[in-house]
Structure formats: structure tokens, C-alpha cells
């Protein structure tokens, strides 16, 4: 039955059907086929047939790779049992079948096995099978099926069966193919299943044997070979460890691995918990059951060991996993588990959902490699370990029970103690390990957290920002711009005893630079960072300079032919404001106060005023005979203005001194610098008005400048820059005009206990004046010779009321300074032969004159000797309400006076000393008695008071201890 000479399997089918219907009588078959063909054909069958075949192999196990590989062509089962339509023909066909399957490879047989066997399965002679086809649902309907005259011989000749069997069937047996098909394929579902099970069981057994033989060295290839044929899954229960079926499908295998790991973790945890519980429980029972305890402890020990090993193992696993996570290159594995995740939660692998794992397993064989090998690497070992330990434990217990009896009590106790110790040791180690592990993990986490934003910026980004920042720091005058930090740093450094290298400045050639701030305190990372910063800054600045040079060289190209490109953004900003440059602003830094004229103005009103004065004085007589133009004293505001100017000058000079050119800069620079400095110093001197005649005004302009507190503060700063003869001039001026100084004038205000703003102010001024005087001028006294001292003291007498001066703290300080200097000189004279270093030996005339002046001083002070003491003055001013000795701060106040009196006593003659003692006797006695009788509360006060008295007494060659109260 062929159309256009093509053979067609349906022909066979129709033949078969015809045969079945007709019971083997071929005479009627034509009609049936014809009818069927015409009615049933709807055109769809063609497509159905073409499309449906492809999956057949897989569905029915034709493909080798599918696990349920029942070979339908297999004929192991007796086909005889099956109901057969034509047993005789089946018998005939059988030999073919037998010889076919073994000769054919599985694949090829599967491929070449068409639908016939299937059809034969369906073909169960029931009328329904026919009906189904009549309905057009059949796959076997062929578009050109209806051949009116099917010729069996033809059909058999081209039948696929003949191709399949490679043996042309005899023409006389048209149904041989059918019978063979039946014999091959007519298995029931139950049978199929049974066979599959049997096969799987067989394989399973084989593999298990294999595994037992070589449990760890199961190679990957073996695994792969086994995988396709793996049998039924066994997820129901986890098998005993040794019997773990490695022969399962990768998906289940993996699942189980994960499951097992998880289980193991759980077990581990449980064990740990149990151990702890056990330990606690046993502590309680210890005393009661020693024997039992011994066993248990040993057991425990072993368990501890087990635990230790387990911890160790867990760490190894984690390590492995981390490593493997790091080494995984397959994208699939990354999909499965990102390395970061595995690193962070190394333990969590075991808890991942099996679906994820399985999914990968199903995707392909390759990615299985790592997990499989990994698990294979540790699992058997793991299990072995556990078993070994369990065995040991059991053994130990057994031994214990054996030995336990004969052991003496003491031995047991000793052993127990030993074990206790060991246990404690082990416990400690475990804890330590756990702690360090935890610490490490926390540290890692912290580092990870900190490095979240690492490398967000490139190096060039960082450089760029550094450049911007540094460019803000570079100034033309790093020291002055960083002045306070520099000074502070210098102070700190000197306090810490670090030898000060010069200023903490990074200079770049032409003055520009960066202040580095005060020196670093701590060592460590910071200094190196600072050094790096310095290097970087230097580089940046140098680069900038290079660019600058480049620009200059570019400018030098001006007028040259050709095109040169400049950087427009480097151009200076356009000037928008037109400021009158002629307006006087000499120093840009201090433009507020312009130059204050050194000389008083001769303008208008004040000039007339002075002229009038000149006239008045000329009329008035010889008061200002030397032609001194007396002027009004400086007003407060004028003094302030001059002071501001002077401060500017001082700052200029200070800056100038810092900028002193180095010797290698050449003589010209040095000379120029000196000239400038001299000019400034000269300005300063004129500004201080030291050369203005004494009689010019009262107070003297210089003293007027000392009125404001900042004027007083200016003294020490000015003195540093003045030559010594100028300092002497200043000293002379101060001595001559001492009574004019506001502090001296206002000093009576200090002699009261009333708290007032005025008093506080005077006190402050007094303190400031004293300290600045001590810092500036008084050291000059220490260099004076006797004649000079005598002259100065004489001058003091000439211009001042010495008694009043001596009642002021600065006055006392001044006088004490004089006396002590003279004392020094006298001592030097006494030791003349030894100290030839003293160049100017005072001649006797000087000495005599000094003595005269001193006598005068003594005589002036003698009447009011007690009034020199501030405490007594205060007591007196209070009207007796505050007796002497009750004035707060008496001792501090009076100390300078005691010192001064001591100095007086040293210079005094015998009569003078006697006078001193007589005058001060009462005071001394009162002081001593107040101390001895305990009127003074604090030890400190007592010591001070006695110290004060002793200062004076010792100068007289006495001691307070000699005084009997």
C-alpha cells in the first residue's frame, strides 16, 4: 500500500487492522480501508503525526540519558504470557527480536525505534482503538492513505519494519511486523516499573560496593557516569553515614549534603548543650557519686575532645567553603552563592534552601564539581572521626568501670583533680579559641564596614582636592599669618624641653609658604602623615611655580610672530572699583590708623595756643630758660593714637627681625635690612618721646603714654629693640617723672579695703606697671656703676617726693633694686683682688657721695618707716576698725617692704640700724608673738610672717628665734 511508490507505516497499520477485522481474510479489506480513509481524514492528522513523534523517545525511555531507561525492545520478560493476536507469528518473529537488541547500541535502537511498538501497545483489538482513529485523533492517519488497491507485497517490501529488522520479512507473512512489535512492546505499566526497580536496585548495590571499596577517591568521572543511571530518590531518611548513597541524582545528592551539614550543625549544637547540661548536673552529684563521676568525667573529657575537634573541623569546613567560594569561577556558582555572602556567613551554607542548590544541580553537571568534591573531602573523615571518638568514649567508660573498683579513694581523688585541671584547661582553651574567633570576626566586620567606600575616589581626585586645600593654605607670610599658632607651638615645645628648631613653616623660595602649626605631640602615624603632606605641598608648589615660569616665558614671546595660546583663566580679575590711590594708607595691614605725626601739629588753634604760651613764659621768667616749648600734656586720645602707631612699629620691627637675611644672602641685603631696622627703631624712639625735655609738660609725654594699660604693656616689648643707652635714657626719664606716673599718683587708693572699680583698676595698673618695669628697665640698673646709681637716686630726690614714691609698690621695687645693686658693687670692692673682672672700680668720691644720698634717703624715710607697710596704711585708713595683722593678705603685701628694709639695714650705719630696730621693734614683736601664740590660723601664713621678719632680722645679723616674747 504505497502512494507514488512511497512506503508508509500506516499501510502496515491498515493491513493489520484489516487483518484483525477480517480475521485474516484479505477479500474484504479494500472496502474497509476505503471507507475509513475517506471519512476519517480531516487533514490534521498529518501534522499531528509529524509533530508528535519527537518526544516519544523521551517519554518512553528511548534516550539513554534518562534515568528511567526501560528498554522497550528488551525481551527479557516472556512475551509468551502476553495475549497475542497471532501467537504463531510472534513465535516466528521472536528470533529476530532476540538477536536485535544486543547488537544495537542503546542510543541507536532508541532512535530507530519508531511508533510501532507504541502502536502495538495501543493495539488491543478493542473496537475503541479503531474508533479513536476513526475520530481523526489518531497519529497514524496519513494524508495520502486511501489507496484503493493496497498490495500487501508492496507494502511489505517497503515497510519500515523491514528496515528495522534489517531482514525483509517474507511476503507471505504480512503481519510478522506486527507480531514482533507486540512481542517487544506489550509490557504493562506494572511490568515496566518492576523492571526499572530491579535495575535500579542492582545498580545501587553495585555502586555501594564500589563506594565501600573506595569511599573517598571516587572520581568525578565516575560520579558523572553514575549520575545518569541513578535510581529512585531516597530522601525519606538519611542513611547511616557510611552507607551514604553517592549514587543519587546530583540534585538529591546535594540536597542531602546540605541537609546533612545542617543536621550535623544541629547535632553539634545539641551536643554542646548537652555537654554543658551534663557538666552542671555532674557538678551537683560530684560528691555523692565519685565512682560514677570518674567515669563520667572521662567520658566528658572525651566529649570535650570531641567538641574541640568538632570546632576545629567546623573551622576547616568554613575555611574550605570560603576558599572554594573564592575560587569559584563558574557563573552558575556565583549565582548559587555570592562569595561575599559565603565569606560573611560561612556557616549559612548548610542552611541554604535545597531548591537553590538543586536548581544548580539540574542546570548542569559541571558546577557540581566543587561542592561534591568538597563534601567528599570532609564527610567520610568527619564521620570516621565521630565514630572513632564515640568508640573511644565507650572504651574509656568500659575501662573505667573495670578499673574503678580496685582504685583507692586517694588515687581516685588525685586522678579526679588532675582531670578536673585538664578539663578546666581544655575549657579555657575552647573559650579562648571562641573568643579570638569572635574577635577576629568582629574585626573583619568592622574593617569591611569601614572600607565600604574605599576607592570611590581615584588618586587623581584626591590629588586634585589636596591641591585645592593646599592652595588655600599657602600665604606670602606664613609666620605672621600663623602667628599665634607659631608662638603657642614655640612655647609648648620649650615647655616640653624639645630643642626648638626654627619656626614650623614650610617656605618656598620667595617668602610664600605654609604654616605647619604647632609641633606634633604624639609619634606614630601623624608625623609621617605630616611629612607626606609637606612633601606633597612642596611638590604642588613647585609645580605651580613651574607653571608660573612657563607663563612668564610665554609672555616673553610677546611680539613674536605666530600664535601663542595663553590661559585666559589665569588672567587677573578685571578691576571694577576705582579707588583713589593717593589717599594715605601707608601700611596696608594697618590702614586704620595712618601715620601719627611725631611732632605736634602747628596748625591753627594749637599753634596759636603755643605761641601764646611762649609769650607767657618769656614774660614769666626763667622757668623754661633753655627755650623749651612747654605744651599741653598729651590727651588721653592722643596717647592712645600714638600708642597704636607704636604698636604697629613694634610689630613691624618684630617682623623685620624675623626676616633677617641670612649671611649667604649677601652684604647688600644685610645692609639694607639694618638700615631699615635702624630707621624703624629711630621712629620708635621718637614716638616714645624720650628726648622731649622734662619740662615740656606735666606729665611728660612719655609718662602720658604709660597711662593706658597698653602703654605700660608696651614697655617690655619696646625695650627689646632699643640699644642699652636708650634704655638708660628711658630709666632716667621714668625716675625723673616717677611721681607723674598714674600708678604713683593713684597709689593712695590702694591703701584701703574698700572694693571699688577704681581700686581694682588702679591695682591692675599697678601690677602691670610693676611687672613691665621689672621686665624692662630695672635690669638696666643691674649694669650701672656707683656714680650712675648715685646720680639716679639724686635725680629721684630732686624731682620726687621720695617718701610718697616709697609707698608705692613700683617705687619700693625701684629703691630695692638700687640698694641691692650698690650692695653688689660694695661686695665687689671688698673682693677686689680676686675679681679683676669688675672693670670700673668706684672711686672713694663716688662712695662718699653715695653714702650722702643714702643718708638723705634714710632721713626722708625714717619718720614714716611704719607707713611704708601697706597693711599698716590700710589699718590706719580704716580708722582702727581693722587692726594690724588682721588685714587680709598682709604678708604678701608687706614682703617687699621687709626686703627693702633689709636692704636698708645692710647699708645703714650703726646708729641707723639702731633706729631701724627701735622703729620696727614693736612690729617685729607683734609679728613674732602672733605667730607664737597661734593667732594665725594656717601654717602657711605663719611661715610667711616669720619669713618676712627673718628677712629683716638676718640683715641685722639677728634671728627671730632670739626674740623672747
Amino acid at each position: 500500500m504505497s502512494y507514488f511508490g512511497f512506503d508508509n507505516p500506516i499501510d502496515l497499520e491498515s493491513e493489520k487492522r484489516k487483518f484483525l477485522e477480517s480475521g485474516g481474510q484479505g477479500s474484504r479489506e479494500d472496502i474497509a480501508v476505503y471507507t475509513w480513509g475517506e471519512q476519517g481524514y480531516d487533514g490534521l492528522g498529518d501534522e499531528l503525526h509529524e509533530g508528535g513523534d519527537e518526544l516519544n523517545d523521551e517519554t518512553f525511555g528511548g534516550v539513554g540519558e534518562v534515568g528511567k531507561d526501560f528498554d522497550f525492545s528488551h525481551t527479557v520478560l516472556p512475551s509468551d504470557d502476553l495475549p497475542q493476536a497471532a501467537p504463531s507469528r510472534a513465535q516466528q518473529a521472536r528470533p529476530q527480536v532476540y538477536e536485535q537488541p544486543p547488537s544495537q547500541p542503546v542510543q541507536s535502537s532508541a532512535a530507530s525505534r519508531p511508533t510501532h511498538s507504541l502502536e502495538s501497545v495501543w493495539d488491543d483489538k478493542s473496537p475503541f482503538s479503531v474508533l479513536g482513529r476513526m475520530n481523526g485523533a489518531s497519529r497514524s492517519t496519513e494524508p495520502h492513505h486511501p489507496s484503493h488497491t493496497p498490495s500487501p507485497s508492496q507494502s511489505f517490501k517497503f515497510s519500515p519494519f523491514s528496515a528495522t529488522s534489517n531482514e525483509p520479512l517474507p511476503a507471505g507473512q504480512p503481519l510478522g511486523g506486527i507480531s514482533s512489535g507486540l512481542s517487544k512492546g506489550a509490557y504493562t505499566l506494572e511490568e515496566v516499573e518492576a523492571e526499572m526497580r530491579a535495575q535500579a536496585a542492582l545498580q545501587h548495590q553495585q555502586q555501594q560496593q564500589q563506594q565501600i571499596a573506595q569511599p573517598t577517591s571516587l572520581t568525578h568521572t565516575q560520579m558523572r557516569a553514575q549520575i545518569p543511571r541513578q535510581g529512585t530518590p531516597q530522601h525519606a531518611a538519611s542513611p547511616p553515614p557510611r552507607m551514604h548513597p553517592h549514587s543519587q541524582s546530583p540534585r538529591f545528592h546535594q540536597q542531602q549534603q546540605q541537609h546533612q551539614i545542617h543536621l550535623m550543625h544541629v547535632q553539634q549544637q545539641q551536643q554542646e548543650r548537652q555537654l554543658l547540661d551534663l557538666a552542671r548536673h555532674r557538678e551537683r552529684q560530684k560528691l555523692l557519686q565519685e565512682q560514677q563521676l570518674l567515669q563520667q568525667q572521662q567520658q566528658q573529657q572525651i566529649m570535650e575532645q570531641l567538641r574541640l575537634e568538632e570546632i576545629e573541623r567546623a573551622r576547616q569546613i568554613r575555611l574550605q567553603q570560603m576558599q572554594s567560594a573564592n575560587h569559584m569561577h563558574s557563573p552558575l556558582l556565583h549565582q548559587r552563592q555570592s562569595p561575599a555572602l559565603s565569606e560573611r556567613h560561612p556557616r549559612s551554607v548548610g542552611r541554604q534552601s535545597p531548591a537553590i542548590m538543586g536548581g544548580v544541580g539540574a542546570l548542569g553537571g559541571a558546577p557540581l564539581e566543587v561542592p561534591l568534591q568538597q563534601s567528599l573531602a570532609y564527610m567520610p573523615h568527619d564521620i570516621q572521626l565521630q565514630q572513632r571518638l564515640l568508640a573511644e568514649m565507650a572504651q574509656a567508660e568500659f575501662l573505667n568501670s573495670m578499673q574503678g573498683g580496685p582504685q583507692s579513694e586517694r588515687e581516685i581523688r588525685e586522678e579526679r583533680e588532675l582531670q578536673e585541671m585538664l578539663r578546666a584547661e581544655a575549657m579555657r582553651k575552647i573559650m579562648e579559641a571562641e573568643r579570638s574567633d569572635q574577635k577576629r570576626r568582629r574585626k573583619q566586620g568592622k574593617i569591611q564596614h569601614m572600607s565600604r567606600y574605599n576607592d570611590l575616589m581615584t588618586q587623581s581626585d584626591k590629588d586634585f582636592i589636596t591641591r585645592i586645600q593646599v592652595s588655600q593654605l599657602v600665604t606670602q607670610d606664613p609666620y605672621a599669618d600663623d602667628f599665634y599658632a607659631q608662638v603657642y607651638g614655640a612655647i609648648i615645645r620649650s615647655r616640653m624641653g624639645i630643642q626648638t628648631q626654627d619656626d614650623r613653616i614650610l617656605k618656598f623660595g620667595s617668602g610664600a609658604g605654609v604654616g605647619l602649626g604647632p609641633g606634633q605631640k604624639g609619634s606614630g602615624r601623624r608625623p609621617s602623615a605630616m611629612q607626606r603632606m609637606e612633601a606633597q605641598v612642596e611638590r604642588i608648589v613647585n609645580n605651580a611655580k613651574m607653571r608660573e615660569k612657563e607663563k612668564i616665558s610665554l609672555n616673553s614671546l610677546q611680539g613674536a610672530l605666530g600664535k601663542t595660546s595663553g590661559r585666559s583663566y589665569k588672567a587677573a580679575p578685571r578691576q571694577l572699583l576705582q579707588v583713589d590711590a593717593s589717599s594715605p594708607s601707608p601700611s596696608p595691614a594697618h590702614a586704620h590708623i595712618s601715620k601719627v605725626d611725631e611732632e605736634p601739629r602747628k596748625d591753627g588753634m594749637s599753634a596759636a595756643h603755643e605761641a601764646a604760651k611762649i609769650g607767657h613764659q618769656a614774660l614769666g621768667g626763667a622757668a623754661n630758660s633753655e627755650g623749651v616749648i612747654a605744651k599741653d600734656p598729651l590727651k588721653h586720645r592722643e596717647a592712645l593714637m600714638i600708642l597704636e602707631r607704636l604698636y604697629d612699629l613694634v610689630l613691624d620691627i618684630e617682623q623685620l627681625r624675623r626676616d633677617q637675611p641670612l649671611p649667604e644672602d649677601g652684604f647688600e641685603a644685610q645692609d639694607a635690612w639694618e638700615v631699615e631696622l635702624d630707621a624703624r627703631v629711630q621712629q620708635l624712639l621718637t614716638g616714645l618721646r624720650l628726648h622731649v625735655y622734662l619740662e615740656t609738660s606735666v606729665p611728660h609725654p612719655f609718662i602720658s603714654l604709660l597711662m593706658p594699660i597698653k602703654g605700660k604693656r608696651l614697655l617690655p616689648r619696646v625695650v627689646r629693640h632699643l640699644p642699652s643707652e636708650r634704655i638708660l635714657t628711658m630709666l632716667t626719664l621714668i625716675i625723673a617723672c616717677f611721681h607723674q606716673v598714674d600708678v604713683v599718683v593713684n597709689s593712695p587708693k590702694l591703701d584701703t579695703l574698700e572694693e571699688s572699680k577704681e581700686r581694682a583698676e588702679v591695682e591692675q595698673h599697678s601690677e602691670v606697671f610693676l611687672s613691665s618695669l621689672v621686665q624692662s628697665v630695672l635690669p638696666a640698673i643691674g649694669k650701672l656703676d656707683l656714680s650712675m646709681l648715685t646720680g639716679l637716686l639724686g635725680m629721684l630726690f630732686k624731682h620726687n617726693d621720695v617718701a610718697a614714691v616709697a609707698r608705692t609698690p613700683p617705687g619700693i621695687a625701684l629703691l630695692t633694686m638700687f640698694l641691692s645693686r650698690v650692695q653688689n658693687i660694695k661686695e665687689a670692692i671688698a673682693s677686689v683682688p680676686m675679681t679683676t673682672a669688675e672693670p670700673e672700680l668706684p672711686d672713694p668720691i663716688d662712695e662718699r657721695r653715695w653714702q650722702e644720698v643714702f643718708d638723705e634717703l634714710f632721713n626722708v624715710l625714717a619718720p614714716g618707716l611704719l607707713l611704708l607697710f601697706p597693711s599698716i596704711r590700710i589699718s590706719k585708713n580704716s580708722g582702727g576698725s581693722v587692726p594690724y595683722g588682721k588685714v587680709p593678705g598682709t604678708d604678701d603685701m608687706d614682703q617687699p617692704i621687709w626686703q627693702f628694709l633689709a636692704a636698708m639695714a645692710v647699708h645703714s650705719s650703726m646708729e641707723q640700724q639702731q633706729y631701724l630696730v627701735t622703729a620696727l621693734r614693736e612690729l617685729v614683736l607683734e609679728n613674732v608673738s602672733s605667730v607664737r601664740r597661734g593667732f594665725l590660723a594656717s601654717e602657711e601664713e605663719r611661715e610667711k610672717r616669720m619669713g618676712n621678719v627673718d628677712i629683716f632680722m638676718r640683715a641685722l645679723g639677728l634671728d627671730s628665734s632670739q626674740i623672747a616674747v
Binding site: H592, I593, K710
Partner: protein
């Protein structure tokens, strides 16, 4: 003396003269300060030490006619004070006798 010749060119020069002097500062909100001026800037921010602040509080009681409100004066002392310039009404050296 005319201001130009005395070296005073701008108002701030007058304030500069009072550096490290005691000054009187009037502030908004009925406050007054006296203290030693240590520093100032173009915003008239001031740094004063040893400051006494005087705050005038005028209380209008209900039912009391206008002009009869009670005036309280609160004083306090501060060692060191930074005065923000936007509150400064005037700065002057204290009156001298």
C-alpha cells in the same frame, strides 16, 4: 584737632583706639555692657573681658496707665564675652572725669 590730621580716617579707627581699654557698649534689647575691649571686626563683633551686663526690663502691668510701668534692672558679670555685631548699637570709651 581735625580728624584727618590726627590719623582718624574711618569710624573704626576710633574703636581701635579703645583696644584693651574699658568701653561702654549699647546693645539692642535694652542691654548695655561695660568691659575691656580685646578685639573687634568689621561686623562690630566684639570680644570683651571683665564684662558687666545691664539689662533693663520694663514691665507693663495690666491696668496701670502708660508711663507708669515698672522698670527693673538686672545685672550680671561675665569674664569673657563674645558680642555678635548685629546687636551692637554703639561703642564708646567710658566717660572720663
Amino acid at each position: 584737632m581735625d580728624p584727618a590730621s590726627s590719623g582718624i580716617q574711618e569710624p573704626f579707627d576710633l574703636i581701635r583706639l579703645s583696644l584693651s581699654e574699658r568701653v561702654f557698649v549699647k546693645l539692642r534689647g535694652d542691654r548695655e555692657l561695660t568691659g575691656v575691649l580685646h578685639a573687634y571686626d568689621g561686623h562690630m563683633n566684639l570680644i570683651l573681658s571683665d564684662v558687666e551686663e545691664t539689662i533693663v526690663i520694663v514691665e507693663h502691668a495690666d491696668g496701670v496707665p502708660e508711663g507708669q510701668a515698672t522698670v527693673n534692672v538686672a545685672k550680671r558679670k561675665v569674664d569673657m564675652l563674645f558680642v555678635r555685631g548685629d546687636g551692637v548699637i554703639l561703642v564708646s570709651p567710658p566717660s572720663r572725669t
